[in-house]
């Protein structure tokens, strides 16, 4: 998370002094991949980088910058954009990396020249050294379209290279593309219009953006941004030139060649779209909720994590420290068949005879060993909540499979082009709560990880929409890790708790967003969305995405788990945990009607949400108590990582308000439900 935000800030500061066109001697040439969304920039990036060097790639398209080294070049990926501008926060990220580029590799979708060449012409007008990669060239042939590449290259004044990212065609010409990039044919009228501003800024790139009304870029050079009319003039001129170029280079041999995606159409219409959505959700449920979070995790966590990893580590520690080990043999229905206690006042290695008996008893089928150490430090690191035992099991054998499963689904959804269509279908519904269909994208991604979804809100048009979605994400959307723990607990509790949970959360969602929609000033932006063609995702690409995102997530998450476990462990040793429990007792036992140990879950929940829900595992709860506990923990504060990112994205005022709001709402609603159902 951090790497991402810092990366884009660095870009900004580095970019200021450089003159857009010239490369300072000694520094490496900065090559930026730019293009419209869904043109395959990332495939080129992966090819050039060979591997992800700096993994800061987040769902919901690339809302961040990824960079890598290739030969003598620094290669940068950028968020997909239809033009260099500042209509959304996401576009600003793209704008800044493009401004800082020495060379721009402009990836263009051959099937959408009308749309894509707008950016190409803008890059050329910016005076950037450009080469065009004409991607999807194989699709063009399939659709009986002919593009006169030579003519296009001649009109643009830059190299145009046909590629197919999927078939890896044209990849051998990428070096050529970078080396032969050059400043293209800029419209004379535009050049004249910019000449005065360019003298101030030192580069046409920034002069163009200032003329097009970019307030931030104008501020960097203490000059006045152009008016809306200036921008419209430039845009219309550019649009006309694009249309003119396309007319000269593109020939359709047959109108029947036009791709007609029936499935794509069906996802839009509610009559077919809602059943499709239901089907997609069902598949997700069976894959993540049932297969991964029940079967796979059950095996990895209990068999590998607790049974092999923790058992051996704890047993090794018991060799050298005074310990008492209780072993229970469980039957088919988790009932205790046999139980024995082994005491090693000098450590296991001092009493080999008893150690041997322990070993043979504790390796029987269905055995569960509970290690209690006398030494508090041993307890802290290797005990029940041990920093090196529970945390590692939790991270590697519970969270990792879940996160992999979820990112896999998310990658498929993203690559298939389904999300924008879902956004269109749900547009009207979301209008009612002050959002447009686009808001579906961060919300859906929030079910993966709230922290990342907080950043994805940058794709939304206005500040008020970002505020509403940010609040929804923190209050009601459970992240994948938390969702899994919830699903696990609810599976124990039954159908009625599931219904109560869903109805409660849904009611809060509607109430919260309706109130915010009324209170927040201004108006939300209407939907304007380019719909990508539906396609079957490439497995290779999906797997690659899944693994690198999971890696990035684990890299960022693990620290908090160790810190959290250490914190809880220390509180346990120093008795602070019972002080906290007693402090919250009136609230926990009287109002929420839960055992007082449930207060642990709240403290853990502040560190990580799923961690909090997991804190409920070891407490004996009735079905209704589980329901109340889960509702409370779902609404309760976002995890630390998410909180920090929210503060960065939305400012401390909004961040703190949401954080406190979740405390109040969680206990109020949780208690209300408790008073009714328990």
């Amino acid at each position: 998370m951090k790497t991402e935000t810092i990366a884009s800030e660095n870009l900004l500061s580095k970019q200021k002094p450089t003159n857009g066109n010239s490369n300072k001697s000694g520094s490496r040439t900065k090559v930026v991949l730019a293009g419209n969304p869904n043109v395959g920039k990332s495939v080129f990036f992966n090819h050039l980088s060979g591997m992800y060097v700096d993994v800061s790639n987040f769902p919901g398209t690339t809302v961040s910058i990824t960079s890598a080294q290739y030969k003598n070049y620094n290669i940068y990926d950028s968020p997909g954009t239809y033009g260099v501008s500042a209509f959304t926060e996401e576009e600003k990220v793209a704008r800044d990396v493009i401004l800082s580029a020495d060379v721009v590799l402009n990836v263009v979708n051959s099937l959408h020249l009308h749309r894509d060449l707008f950016l190409t012409l803008q890059l050329i007008e910016m005076g950037k050294k450009v080469s065009v990669l004409l991607n999807f060239s194989d699709e063009v042939k399939k659709n009986k379209i002919k593009i006169d590449v030579e003519k296009l290259s001649q009109l643009l004044g830059v190299e145009v290279i046909e590629t197919s990212a999927i078939k890896k065609e044209g990849f051998d010409k990428l070096d050529f593309a970078i080396e032969n990039s050059r400043i293209g044919n800029c419209d004379q009228k535009v050049k004249e219009l910019l000449s005065d501003t360019a003298k101030i800024t030192g580069s046409e790139a920034e002069a163009l953006l200032i003329k097009e009304g970019d307030v931030e870029v104008a501020k960097r050079h203490n000059s006045d941004p152009g008016t809306v009319d200036d921008r419209e003039y430039l845009y219309i001129q550019r649009r006309n030139r694009v249309n003119n170029i396309v007319d000269q280079v593109e020939f359709e041999n047959s109108t029947k060649g036009i791709i007609f995606s029936k499935l794509g159409r069906m996802t839009l219409n509610p009559f077919t779209g809602i059943p499709i959505l239901a089907f997609v959700l069902l598949v997700i449920y069976f894959f993540v909720g049932d297969l991964i979070s029940q079967r796979v995790v059950d095996y990895t966590e209990n068999e590998i994590g607790v049974g092999i990893f923790e058992y051996n580590l704890k047993s090794l520690v018991a060799d050298y420290t005074p310990s008492t080990i209780t072993v229970e043999i469980l039957g088919e229905n988790d009932d205790v068949i046999d139980s024995r206690s082994f005491e090693f006042p000098q450590g296991k290695s001092e009493n080999p005879e008893l150690a041997e008996k322990f070993k043979s008893f504790s390796t029987k089928d269905g055995s569960v060993s509970d290690f209690v150490y006398e030494n508090p430090i041993a307890t802290l690191f290797f005990g029940e909540f041990g920093v090196l035992t529970m945390t590692i099991t939790y991270l590697l054998f519970l969270l990792l499979p879940l996160v992999l499963g979820f990112y896999f689904i998310m990658a498929i959804l993203e690559d298939s082009g389904y999300l924008p269509r879902l956004a269109t279908m749900l547009d009207r519904t979301l209008n009612r709560i002050g959002l447009n269909g686009k808001a579906v994208i961060p919300i859906m991604l929030g079910f993966g990880c709230i922290t990342m979804a907080n950043i994805t809100t940058r794709i939304l048009g206005t500040n008020r929409e970002r505020s509403i979605v940010t609040a929804i994400l923190q209050f009601v959307i459970p992240c994948s890790a938390q969702l899994a723990v919830i699903a696990f607990l609810l599976a124990r509790a039954g159908t009625v708790p599931l219904l109560i949970f869903m109805v409660t959360i849904f009611t809060i969602l509607i109430t919260l967003s309706t109130i915010l929609n009324r209170l927040l000033p201004g108006e939300s932006s209407p939907l304007l969305l380019d719909l990508p063609t539906m396609k079957i995702p490439q497995l290779r690409n999906v797997l690659k995405k899944t693994f690198f995102r999971a890696y990035g997530f684990m890299k960022e998450a693990y620290v908090w788990f160790f810190v959290g476990a250490l914190g809880i462990g220390l509180m346990q040793i120093t008795n602070l945990l019972s002080v906290w429990q007693n402090l919250l007792e009136p609230l926990t036992t009287n109002w929420l009607k839960l055992p007082k140990e449930a207060a642990n879950a709240f403290i853990m929940g502040m560190v990580r949400r799923d961690f909090g829900a997991a804190g409920l595992f070891d407490i004996q709860l009735s079905a209704m108590q589980i329901t109340v506990a889960i509702i409370t923990i779902t609404i309760f504060v976002p995890c630390i990582a998410s909180f920090v990112v929210m503060l960065k994205e939305r400012g401390w005022k909004e961040g703190i308000s949401i954080w406190i709001g979740t405390w109040i709402t969680a206990f109020f609603i949780g208690g209300l439900v408790a008073q009714i159902i328990i």
């Binding site: 239809y82 009308h114 749309r115 036009i258 279908m425 547009d427 209008n431 304007l528 380019d530 719909l531």
Partner: protein
């Protein structure tokens, strides 16, 4: 009263007569929707969200936006 895009029906071929002013106009132009352009309406959802198509490109517009775009059938 000029005809606006929200009145278009599925299957209609229509010409854009006037776009609303402001940022949104620039965004529309950038995506390829300009005054004088002929497009087809390929989907109209309950609630008024419109999906337009031009060549191979499909663009979704919310009902509020559709209401502010003048068209000629």
């Amino acid at each position: 009263m000029a005809l606006t895009l929200d009145k278009a029906l599925k299957g209609h071929s229509l010409t854009i007569a006037k776009l609303p002013n402001g940022d949104i106009k620039s965004q529309l132009i950038r995506l390829g929707i300009t005054e004088g352009l002929t497009v087809s309406c390929i989907e109209k959802l309950p609630g008024g969200t419109i999906v337009l198509r031009r060549n191979r490109q499909e663009i979704a517009l919310g009902s509020a936006l559709a209401k502010s775009i003048e068209i000629v059938l």
